[in-house]
Structure formats: C-alpha cells, structure tokens
Assembly symmetry: C2
Homo-oligomer: 137 residues x 2
DNA sequence: AAATACTGTCATGAAAAATATTTCAGTAAT
DNA sequence: ATTACTGAAATATTTTTCATGACAGTATTT
C-alpha cells in the first residue's frame, strides 16, 4: 500500500460523488488531482475491481460511482486500496537465533492486523456521502 | 514516518525489556534485528529523545529502558516514531480551481488526524510488558 | 466509413525515499 | 594505553514511488 493511495482514491470518489451520475474521464479527474492520467486510470482500475466505480469505454465514456454515495464507506475504500498492513515489518528477517527476533514478526503481524481492523471499523462509520457533506460548494 | 520504524522500535524495546536492567550495545541489538548498527543507533537516538531509553557511553555502555516496561505503552512508541499521519496526502497540490481539489486536503487531514488518534488510543492499551508476555521464552 | 474521444495496459524513465556503509571524534572502563 | 562503546556526519546503494509515452481496443458522432 502506498501511503497516499487512500487520499487519491477518496479524492476520485468524492469528485464522482459531486457530479452524481455523470461520466468523468481520467483526464478530467487527473486535472483535479493534478497528476498523471495514467496513475488515475490505475487507481480507477483498482476501484473498479472492487466494484466502487463502473466505467464506459469509447467516446463520451468515463467512470462513475457503481452505487449510491451513501452505500460506499471510507472503510470500503480503505479495504480496496489496502495491500499490506498499515504498519510494516522491518526489511530484513530478524535473527532466528535470538528469542525475540525469533517471534517478533509473528507478534507484530498479529498486532498490525488488530490495528488495521480498528481503522477499518472507524472508516466504515463514514460514508462517501457523509464525507462529501463536509465540503462547502 | 517510515512504515517500519514502529516495528524496529518495538523490536528494540522488547529486546531491552527481555534483559531487564542490562545495557545492550547497538551492535548487539543490530544482530537481533539483522540490520546495520548505525540505523539502530538512529532509532535509539529518537527513543532516547522521547525518554523511552537511556544510554551510557564508553566501554561497557549501551542502552536500557528508561522506565519500567509496564510504564511504557505501544502508544508511547507510536507517538515517538510518528512524524506524519499514518495516511498521506497525494504528492501534488490538487487543482485549486476545482471545488473538490480546493478543499480535499483539508478534509483529508482532519480525517487522518482522527485515525491517528484512534490508533494511538488502541496502542496505549498495550504496555511493553503486556506485549512481551505474548512471547514464549 | 472515417474521425474523435475515451478506457485499459504495458514499458520505460526519473525522482524521491529508505536503507546500508564508512569513518571518526568523544567517553568511560580496564 | 587499550578496548569497547555512543553519537553523528557524509556518502553510497537499493528500493519504491511517481511520471511519461505509446498504443491496441471500443463506442459515439459526423
């Protein structure tokens, strides 16, 4: 998981929420995010895989929300972008001969899973609709 | 914040917990983590700044816990290593002319602060002593 | 049927961040 | 005086993230 994938996906989905049923192009979305359209398409690809958006190819195509903004939670977005735990293990395998090094990754992994779950629950309490209401248009 | 700084610091502190009052050298600790001693010293420097460990220079020196393992929580470690929010904003400034791009970072930042706090609270519920008890020695 | 405007995907390159290594000045015990 | 440490700076290497270009495929419009 890239730390900023969540921000990018929430941005995209908030944008889609704000235009209701309209199809937006990756180019247009990239203009709001100020980033490369290919990266946006990559994120969209993931959101689509997770059934948060649907797309239409060809001229006049683009993407839009796959369901109502009230039916999508920030937790759904989190699980969609989540690849690894929020916290990461150290790069190298700890020393297996050390009693601590031997077990640490197992215990850390358990802990990290608990943290992920708490965050997910917290984020499930906020729908995309709720989030969008925080904006002043 | 590096995603793995937390894992590294918890490892170090668990190791220190397991040897009670003993002074451990950065070289020894690095052996358990299987990483470069200089990186360990960098982490120790941060932990020391946050009063979680104390150090002794010279021969026979090293580091040890600055207080009882029961008086240090994983939340304390989290705040010690925390530099930015758990989630990050996108690299580029969003388009200020876009109504969403205009406000998104403000709202995301608020959200991210709430997430950080929930995680911190969760981690405060576990002391280093508690964590160490999960190990089988 | 040709032009246009999209998605979807791959391949490659550039920039940034994380990690590793070397070195050495300073300190304290032996 | 020697040894074994911390602390810190400078630099190199590796890994990850982000950016860009290219293009095949698809649907709409003229």
């Amino acid at each position: 998981m890239t730390k900023s994938k969540f921000a990018i996906s929430v941005h995209i989905l908030t944008l889609l929420t704000s235009v209701k049923e309209e199809w937006l192009s990756s180019e247009y979305i990239a203009g709001s995010l100020n980033m490369n359209p290919v990266l946006v398409r990559n994120e969209l690809s993931n959101l689509k895989k997770n059934q948060l958006v649907e797309s239409k190819e060809g001229k006049g195509g683009g993407v839009r929300l796959a369901k109502a903004a009230n039916k999508i939670t920030l937790g759904d977005i989190f699980t969609a972008i989540k690849k690894n735990h929020i916290f990461g293990l150290a790069k190298n395998e700890p020393n297996p001969k050390c009693p601590v090094g031997n077990q640490i990754n197992r215990h850390l992994t358990d802990l990290f899973a608990e943290v992920d779950q708490v965050v997910e629950e917290q984020l499930h309490a906020v729908s995309l609709g709720d989030f969008q209401e925080r904006f002043e248009f």
